[in-house]
């Protein structure tokens, strides 16, 4: 029990270490840590607008991370989550540009769900492709994912500079803004859609319940922990891999839709903003604990949105939030596991019973 308390308290230690290193760095470059941190806070949660901005960034990040909880549970490295999100964004944009703009009479409550469904299907298909490449083609999901990410980026660039190029010319690096009724219902003048946050939280809840209490979730868990044993106990590894990837793809597709339909109002070149990769990092840092994913993704969103204000108030570059993030990751990876920190080093030679 005492051990458990110690271990739980320990989780704060890497965070404090990261803050310490960043503070030292700020002092070295001659900036005031107090001003910088307060600017960071002001920029992320200082007022309503900032807070909603952080939340708007948080939602797609959380959706991707929730999807990745499923694939990591299955033991799959779904690097392709980035591409799946981009495909979702493309799918939602397709509906917004080809349907909503062409038939302005269709009301928003038809268009928006349609956009979301198409986005999820697009993400699912992109993930299914990576899964099929793995199970039938023997292509590791990391390599397949990286290739498909690039294809998705190329597809975006093609669409922006080709069929969906705005009439005034190509310098804009994005499509024309979607009609207002094709966007998610936004809160006031912010880019935050409460509906998307509700969807993300429902997704998190459903995924947690599915992984804990359904036979499907148990099978994924078994596959992730020992594929060979799970197979011999009667679990189909192919079915598990495909369903896990497809669910993650669906959630990433939804994240893509949220990006184009609330954060932006059009399909942009930088549509993903690296959210997919960031989500992978978050899930690993959280040790695949749902609560950890929730908290860490919110912290990271705050850091990223707060960085801009830091640059405005102090002369520091907004990369300061990147530095905090980087040191945080480093220290969590180095000292985050109390079991590893407190246990005596084990001999490295593997002791295996003679067979």
């Amino acid at each position: 029990m005492k051990d458990n308390l110690l271990h739980n308290l320990w989780r704060v230690v890497p965070v404090l270490m990261a803050v310490g290193v960043t503070t030292a760095l700020l002092i070295v470059v001659g900036a005031s840590p107090g001003v910088t941190y307060s600017a960071l806070w002001q920029g992320s949660f200082g007022d309503y607008d900032r807070t909603f901005s952080t939340l708007a960034f948080w939602v797609p990040l959380l959706l991707c991370a929730v999807g990745l909880l499923v694939t990591f549970t299955t033991g799959l490295w779904n690097i392709g989550v980035e591409g799946q999100m981009i495909m979702g964004a493309i799918g939602a944009s397709a509906v917004a540009l080809e349907v909503a703009a062409a038939y302005p009479d269709i009301p928003g409550w038809v268009i928006v769900p349609l956009e979301i469904v198409v986005a999820m299907i697009a993400g699912t298909m992109w993930a299914a492709l990576a899964a099929i490449l793995k199970t039938r083609g023997g292509v590791h999901e990391i390599f397949g994912g990286v290739a498909l990410n690039n294809l998705a980026i190329i597809a975006t660039n093609y669409l922006i500079s080709g069929p969906w190029q705005p009439p005034e010319g190509g310098s804009f690096r994005g499509t024309v803004p979607f009609p207002r009724h094709a966007l998610l219902p936004l809160l006031g003048n912010t880019r935050f859609s409460p509906l998307s946050l509700v969807l993300a939280l429902i997704a998190l809840l459903l995924v947690v319940l599915a992984l804990r209490g359904t036979s499907w979730g148990l099978k994924l868990k078994a596959l992730g922990k020992n594929m060979r044993s799970a197979f011999l106990l009667g679990v189909s590894s192919e079915r598990g891999a495909i369903t896990a990837m497809m669910l993650c793809g669906a959630l990433a597709g939804l994240a893509g839709a949220v990006r184009v339909l609330s954060w932006f109002d059009s399909l942009r070149q930088s549509i993903s903003g690296g959210i997919g990769f960031l989500a992978i990092l978050i899930v690993l840092l959280a040790g695949m604990r749902p609560l950890g994913v929730l908290v860490i993704s919110l912290i990271f969103s705050g850091l990223l949105t707060g960085g801009a204000v830091v640059q405005l108030r102090t002369q520091l570059h907004s990369a300061i939030s990147g530095i905090i993030q980087g040191t945080l990751v480093l220290f969590v990876l180095l000292f985050g596991d109390p079991h590893r920190v407190f246990r005596r080093p084990q001999p490295t030679v593997e002791a295996e019973a003679e067979t």
Binding site: I132, R136, S215, L218, R228, E354
Partner: protein
């Protein structure tokens, strides 16, 4: 170099792999280390070669106690081990392999090294071309290369672990001559680990025999084979008699089956297994019995022949939707023709043609993807078909293949319950596993994780997870690591299944278990089914001889 092992012990949990072994190896002599699988030979040699540390005990080299922290440490002291699977780098050249760990300068002297290596090799009558890539060489040649490398690094004590597995007769002859020369002319100490009686008798000066982790004794060669057999397998025990089940319906038929792997070809196997019959598969490890057992579970693809389970061939279930990817091709073909016709008629231009083709490819791709996912969804592997038809397979690796280390027993139960609904009924799974834990005497609770169980309890847990009624039960070493009482208890439970008409086929390295528990015993050697014996009419000695590769 004189090697002395004093009271070496190595425990893995409650398994005593080495239990107080003391041995002395003098220079200039060839020692055989004999014992059946699991007797503790490999563990002892891994300890001597620095791969593993002993739980207790001392190693003395020329009277000086030494402690090795790694194999390279042991090699520095002059102890080199030639592993059964050569530890080389197949994508590299012979000379590169040779210079590795040998020449640690920044710029390698490939020319000098090559000349040295060739000279050295020809001294032993080996023909090694330094420029050849290792992955094109035979196992025997790789072994020669490895041997030369060890000698060049100054090995005075050579441990050879089953060196004759997988090499040609000529290479074996050459190897033996080399070993003799190294021992008798260059005064090296040779330890030859084997379970092949013939080879040991041909080559060695003295033999040490291990059984169940203990030293049975040493014996100078030549001596009668029967002496060695008795030392290896122990004295004969009284055993129960089984009735034969030839009249009962057939459960499993193996017809002319050939299995090919890169190591071993198992050829022309014919077998029949009847309801309520127990068939033991005997043989040294790697003789083909495990491949056959796995083929019968649908885990090992067979090259030719067929395996019938209850009269039906054991193959994976092809998806009823196997034809759907052709829809994608058909769509693509029709669309292409249609576009070409329109192009030729002048209805569309070249640009529209290209655009149309791009769309056609995209749609065909989507059709292909959806159909492939559906096929993956609806097809079933041969092993899962095997399970569905009432077969079960219990592998030897408990935490590697049988159980999932991080899952609790309840979770295992929920995983294997065939009637499990989408939402798991944890209470029911807990009740069921608790019942089975009691029935199988597992020391553990429903919440215990598989990794927290001891080896024997993991074994019992694996058996407890089997469905209650089965047609065919395939077992790998079902009682390895269990004490006598547990073994008897497990076999009582198997006996109940036999009474219910389940057919059992099992692999065991324990000759007493084979003779005592089976109706018939199929003896394997070098990938061939030597003979099927009636267990009641066979003695331990006969079986030992047959397993050792000696025809009676």
């Amino acid at each position: 170099m004189r090697v002395e092992l004093r009271d070496i012990r190595k425990y893995f949990g409650d398994v005593r792999a080495n239990d107080g072994i003391s041995l002395t190896f003098e220079p200039g002599r060839i020692y055989g280390l004999l014992g059946e699988n699991g007797a503790g030979k490999s563990t002892l040699m891994k300890i001597l070669s620095g791969y593993q540390a002993p739980t207790s005990g001392t190693i003395l080299l020329d009277g000086q106690p030494v402690v090795f922290s790694s194999p390279s440490d042991a090699l520095h002291c002059g102890i080199g081990m030639l592993y059964q699977d050569p530890l080389d780098f197949p994508p590299m050249q012979v000379i590169e392999n040779h210079l590795l760990a040998h020449d640690d300068r920044l710029v390698l002297d490939r020319g000098g090294g090559s000349r040295e290596l060739e000279q050295y090799a020809s001294g032993f009558g080996f023909e090694l071309d330094p420029r050849v890539y290792v992955d094109t060489m035979t196992l025997g040649e790789r072994q020669q290369m490895e041997l030369l490398r060890l000698l060049a690094l100054g090995a005075n004590v050579l441990i050879l672990d089953e060196p004759t597995t997988g090499i040609s007769a000529e290479q074996k002859e050459m190897l033996f001559n080399t070993i003799r020369r190294l021992a008798h002319e260059e005064q090296k100490t040779i330890i030859f680990v084997s379970h092949k009686l013939e080879e040991v008798q041909e080559l060695c000066d003295e033999v040490a025999v291990l059984r169940h982790g203990k030293l049975v004794g040493t014996q100078s060669i030549p001596c009668p084979t029967s002496t060695l057999v008795r030392m290896m397998f122990g004295e004969e025990l009284p055993r129960s008699t089984h009735k034969l089940h030839a009249a009962a319906p057939t459960v499993l038929t193996v017809e002319n089956v050939t299995i090919r792997t890169y190591r071993l070809t198992v050829e022309g196997i014919n077998l029949e297994l009847h309801e309520g019959e127990a068939l033991g598969l005997a043989g040294l490890e790697g003789s083909g019995q495990r491949l056959l057992l796995q083929a019968c579970a649908g885990l090992q693809p067979i090259h030719s022949g067929r395996i019938l389970l209850c009269g039906e061939p054991l193959i994976g279930k092809r998806s009823p939707l196997f034809w759907t990817p052709w829809l994608a091709w058909a769509f693509l073909a029709i669309r292409t023709i249609w576009l070409i016709v329109r192009l030729l008629n002048g209805q569309i231009g070249g640009l529209q043609m290209a655009g149309g083709m791009a769309w056609a490819l995209l749609i065909a791709g989507a059709i292909w993807l959806v159909s492939t996912v559906l096929i993956a969804w609806t097809s079933q592997s041969a092993y899962h078909v095997f399970r569905q038809r009432g077969g079960a397979y219990v592998p030897a690796g408990r935490l590697e293949e049988g159980l999932i280390a991080d899952l609790s027993l309840t979770e295992h139960m929920a995983l294997v319950s065939p009637e499990s609904s989408f939402v798991i009924n944890w209470q029911r799974a807990r009740d069921e596993i608790s019942r089975r834990i009691q029935r199988y005497n597992v020391v553990g609770r429903a919440e215990t994780k598989a990794a927290e169980l001891s080896g024997g309890n993991q074994q019992r847990a694996m058996l407890a997870l089997l469905p209650p009624s089965l047609r065919l039960l395939l077992l790998e070493h079902p009682t390895r690591g269990l004490d006598v009482t547990s073994t008897n208890h497990i076999w009582e439970l198997f006996e109940e299944r036999l009474q219910q008409g389940t057919a059992i086929m099992f692999i065991s390295a324990d000759l007493d278990e084979l003779l005592e528990r089976s109706d018939r015993i199929a003896v394997f050697s070098g990938g061939r089914l030597l003979r099927i014996l009636n267990a009641a009419e066979t003695s331990v000695e006969e079986l030992g001889h047959l397993i050792g590769g000696q025809q009676l």
